[in-house]
Symmetry: C2
Subunit: 660 residues, 2 copies
């Protein structure tokens, strides 16, 4: 259909910009030989992990493709599924491969000052951001051009492919990054009093690899998935005849295309000269929203939709900004909630963690209220279709958010390389400032990712009921109630496995680091080089091993509930799971981020500074917060989307074979 | 109506047994003058707290009574409300007043061996257990005899009164007990290397008072409330005409009466000679279930109900046993999950807490599956009425469970008195063994309390929809969805305030203890007595202060949601809140209990024993787990019942004034 060539064109523009950004980044000066060596070590570790992870995912994709082929009786959905999986991995792969080269170039650029280093890191991040929307728009537009309205349901295969990869990337990357981080810190910082990123620490390369496979590749796959499934959900809702006319299909794609323009515009505003770059981030997101909103208004007129449809889209755009700001409010350095934790840490690790958990729990309030308002506004503006396009509006900002997010692991690595390569303190001051900012961007963009996942899952839930022709999902039906209870439990069990995996793998890392320090002579004086590769290998193997159970849990639960308790219970499962996972993800991500910044606050010299009792207590809090914020919390985003997409995908099967 | 005289009679029997148990307990030898002094100090602290708490509650009761009188346009519901509140407080008051006297008598009886001491503590606990069901049955029977079927809704006032007091008792008692405990431990154990219950610790009396106001009075009010509201919910469901005939009303009361007999029978089986008394607990609950089930079967025939109704009741009875056993499986001393935490503590406090949280999250699985099965079995046996009577069946075991539970604080205190009075090690070995058992009973009965709260809230939810005449509560309705999101968030925000209150009050306690150690000369050598009263006073004042915000949160949320978003959203609120609170309560209570026992495991000499690094790490875990398991977790039980009862109570108001 000719109408989809527009979105295809904008997808190509986004991908082209991503590639241009990649080329510009790679042309920059990669610094000294020592710096390049370090960067190479990180890159080879990260690439090795992504390659091995790809093999594990490949097995799942092949088995599921065969199953889908027979269950759904068709090859089209298998093609959509494989395309979704491959484009997701490509996004993560491309983004990360540039990120692991942008890190050393950012460290080098730091010699010239904040402005250049900041710009290098942002440009490196933009590769991921624009690749995500590029692949997403191209994939969906191409698929759509071969489909008719009656079989637009095939698209869910594409969404499921993206979800599956995202779950692997989030879970595997999350376990990897935090096992390495906690392992490196527990021996390095706590036992041996080394600073962060000390080259004598055998786990230091693994730690830096983790930033890339977790914060960069994992996050990219997660947000790519949200972007894709949100578009798919809106199209499925349109196909269910809730809204009529061909523009019900093109409207969401036009909004996504407007987002490409808005995101490109935002690149002109994310610039800074001074060290306080937070205003630049707000300006970036703000400009993306304003430009997108203007275009969306124009589009609404162009397709002859009521102005209320624009209100629905706008509610999604505004929600993105609110979630960004509220996360900053709770977890930003020096904020009140962070100070409370730092103060409580003076009473010991116990009271510090208690207060950290309390803060994490508290941060659920405003995001929930914001999401509720967005749902109500969009629904009363444009019905269930409104919820779909509100989600599309929010996710149309994906490129900007992902750019800012990928900035985090790049600057984190740049700081690590500067430290390990022993660059002059002038340079390290710059990388340290950017690293601190990167921590904030990682935390705040997580608020977007979590809220985006919740809103897109809500849209998927609407699409699910439309796909199954469910007129109600009635909590008074005991089967629905049963599903709700199981759904509310799912994020708890899922998180439990991830926390355990980090706890166990970190313990193995601790033993390995202790072993190397004990057996390799001269390691502490810097005369002998630690065996970085072995540490990298240990985390890789264990992260991949730990990945299988939670993965199966997310895939099997909806299938079992659907087959045993039927479609009503499956609806209940989504009803119970989405809000519970949303609040759990907020609690974990924000609580962890606040504890991290409480530790940093004390390290800045407050309450006795580094080495004080309060600092030791805060380090414990940070350790507890690490798997909460970077493993379990974000992985819930992927979990709810996998469960939602698989529920829609297999709906025909459940209708045919379910017991109830 | 003459039919309610039966349940009235059984209520009187239960209350009479409670009083007899009290008299027998008080006649026992209270030990030496020193022991009595200690017991007196604990008692006066506990009584002072309950008295001051009563004044705070009184203010709320008066304000709410006036509001209710005008809103509901009638005095009957106010009378029911006040009666519910007063009987709840009486139960807690009576039970605790005997418990604070049974403690010293248990310590004295320990001279003669395990058997006598165990029996003394159990008998002391029985006072609370049987008072609860006595007051409950008498109150409801008397009210019913004045009501007709058309105004049986008045009963919800009784349930709300009990809920309100329970919320205060759980929240206030929970904050009290853990602030004192954490405060005492942080300075006493960690800084000064004192053993538990060292008389030189200024917070030691406050700590022992906390056991009583939290674990005894708080738990009594909580389970009393579950008992009462479950009966009320069953009667409301009956009144909604879901089941027909007068026996729809008498049947739940007969089951409750059967529970009186079953609980009395169980008293013959909760006996032990050896130190391993766990089998005695299983025998006690098992016998209560068997006797009750036989009587329930007889009753079902007697009232000419289908046998499937008995199946529904039985599912509730079996659920009670399963929840007891599964909690034991996860949190019992030396269990696999506990060992995992202890092992992780060898890597440091961070990994220990990570594993503790992981275990807590994991424990949600089986209880949820069990509750889901109970809901499905009872519904498919006897419709929505089945859910009501399943809950009544489960809660008919209240007296036995509460007896076993109250055993905990009594033996905990007995151990404290034995330590403080410096009794011979032979005696202390006995009290230590009972104290350890008491920890298990406190944890396992919490599983019952949480599951009971979830099931009774589910019954209340059914009653709510019946009372409002809601045919569906449809998650596809965006107002319902909004309510669900807010409901899922409520336990998080609520817990946040409680965790913060404990963190803050504990910090104040730490400062006070440090101050006393610094300023009172000879305190550490035992020559000068610490100022126990001041420590008690500090916790009292701060616990009562911290109590107001969470209390208002629980009361105001349903009112605001009901008035602003209407009855559908209010239904959604319950749908979101009940399962999320259930899993949160399980996570917190079990995670905390497992971390506590991991610490005890190391203290028993494993992994380096007391004073080792692993032990220090485990102490941090225990500190974090304390407010999870004894403050936030259990308080959620009361929260969900308050929100549920207030939703039903004010339903007519929402119907008249809501915006939607």
């Amino acid at each position: 259909m000719v109408l989809y060539y527009y979105s295809l064109a904008f997808g190509i523009v986004a991908l082209a910009f991503s590639l241009i950004a990649a080329v510009i980044t790679l042309k920059k000066d990669p610094g000294t030989k020592k710096m390049q060596e370090l960067s190479d070590a990180i890159r080879s570790g990260a690439t090795a992990y992504l390659n091995r992870q790809a093999m594990t995912i490949g097995v799942f994709v092949i088995i599921l493709s065969i199953l889908l082929y027979f269950l759904q009786n068709g090859g089209q959905i298998v093609i959509a599924f494989v395309t979704g999986a491959v484009t997701s991995y490509l996004t993560a792969y491309l983004g990360m491969n540039v990120a692991v080269r942008a890190n050393v170039r950012t460290a080098k650029a730091a010699e010239k000052g904040v402005k250049d280093a900041f710009y290098t890191a942002i440009l490196g991040g933009a590769v991921t951001g624009f690749a995500a929307i590029g692949f997403g728009l191209i994939g969906i537009s191409l698929l759509l051009s071969y489909l008719t309205i009656s079989n637009v349901g095939i698209l869910i295969g594409f969404g499921f492919g993206a979800s599956l990869v995202s779950l692997f990337a989030r879970v595997g990357g999350g376990i990897y990054t935090k096992s390495a981080d906690v392992g490196a810190d527990l021996v390095g910082k706590t036992e041996l009093n080394m600073p962060e990123d000390d080259p004598r620490n055998p786990a230091v390369i693994a730690d830096n690899v983790g930033d890339n496979v977790g914060d960069c590749a994992g996050m990219a796959a997660d947000v790519y998935e949200s972007y894709v499934v949100t578009l798919v959900a809106a199209l499925l809702i349109a196909a269910a005849g809730v809204s009529q006319g061909i523009h019900a299909f093109t409207y969401p794609l036009y909004i996504a295309a407007a987002g490409v323009v808005g995101s490109l515009a935002s690149m002109f505003f994310i610039k800074t000269k001074g060290k306080n770059a937070t205003p630049a981030l707000y300006k970036g997101i703000g400009s993306a929203i304003v430009v997108s909103a203007i275009l969306d208004l124009f589009i609404t007129y162009h397709v002859n939709f009521p102005i209320t449809y624009f209100v629905a889209v706008l509610s999604g755009l505004v929600l993105a900004m609110l979630l960004f700001a509220i996360t900053d409010y709770y977890t930003g350095p020096g904020k009140r909630a962070v100070l409370k934790i730092a103060e409580a840490a003076r009473g010991g690790a116990g009271t510090g963690v208690i207060m950290g958990l309390s803060v994490g729990l508290r941060t659920t309030f405003f995001p929930v209220i914001f999401v509720v308002i967005a749902i109500l506004v969009s629904y009363f503006s444009a019905g269930v279709y409104g919820i779909g396009i509100a989600a599309v509006g929010m996710l149309s900002l994906t490129a900007t958010i992902l750019t800012i997010d990928s900035f985090g692991p790049i600057t984190d690595n740049a700081g690590g390389i500067a430290e390990m390569a022993n660059l002059p303190s002038r340079v390290r001051n710059v990388t340290d400032a950017l690293d601190a900012l990167g921590n904030t961007t990682k935390a705040t963009t997580k608020g977007f990712a979590i809220g985006g996942a919740a809103l897109s899952a809500t849209a998927l839930f609407v699409a699910f009921s439309a796909a199954l022709g469910l007129k109600t999902i009635d909590a008074l039906n005991p089967l629905v109630a049963a599903g709700i209870f199981i759904g509310a439990m799912l994020p708890f069990i899922f998180s439990s496995f991830l926390m355990e995996a980090v706890g166990k793998t970190a313990t193995i890392m601790v033993e390995e680091v202790r072993r190397q320090v004990r057996t390799i002579k001269g390691i502490l004086t810097g005369k002998a080089k630690p065996d970085y590769a072995r540490a990298v290998d240990i985390v890789t193997v264990n992260a991949l091993k730990a990945l299988v159970v939670p993965e199966l849990l997310a895939i099997a639960t909806p299938i079992i509930v659907g087959l045993v308790l039927g479609k009503a219970a499956l609806g209940g499962l989504l009803v119970g799971m989405i809000p519970a996972s949303f609040v759990m993800a907020l609690f974990m991500a924000n609580g962890g981020a606040a504890m991290d910044n409480a530790k940093k606050y004390i390290e800045s010299g407050k309450f006795g500074g580094k080495g004080s009792d309060a600092h030791k207590a805060a380090v414990v809090g940070d350790t507890v917060g690490d798997p909460l914020k970077d493993t379990a919390g974000p992985a819930l985003n992927s979990m709810i989307k996998v469960v939602s997409t698989i529920s829609i995908l297999l709906a025909p099967v459940f209708l045919a074979y379910a017991l109830f």
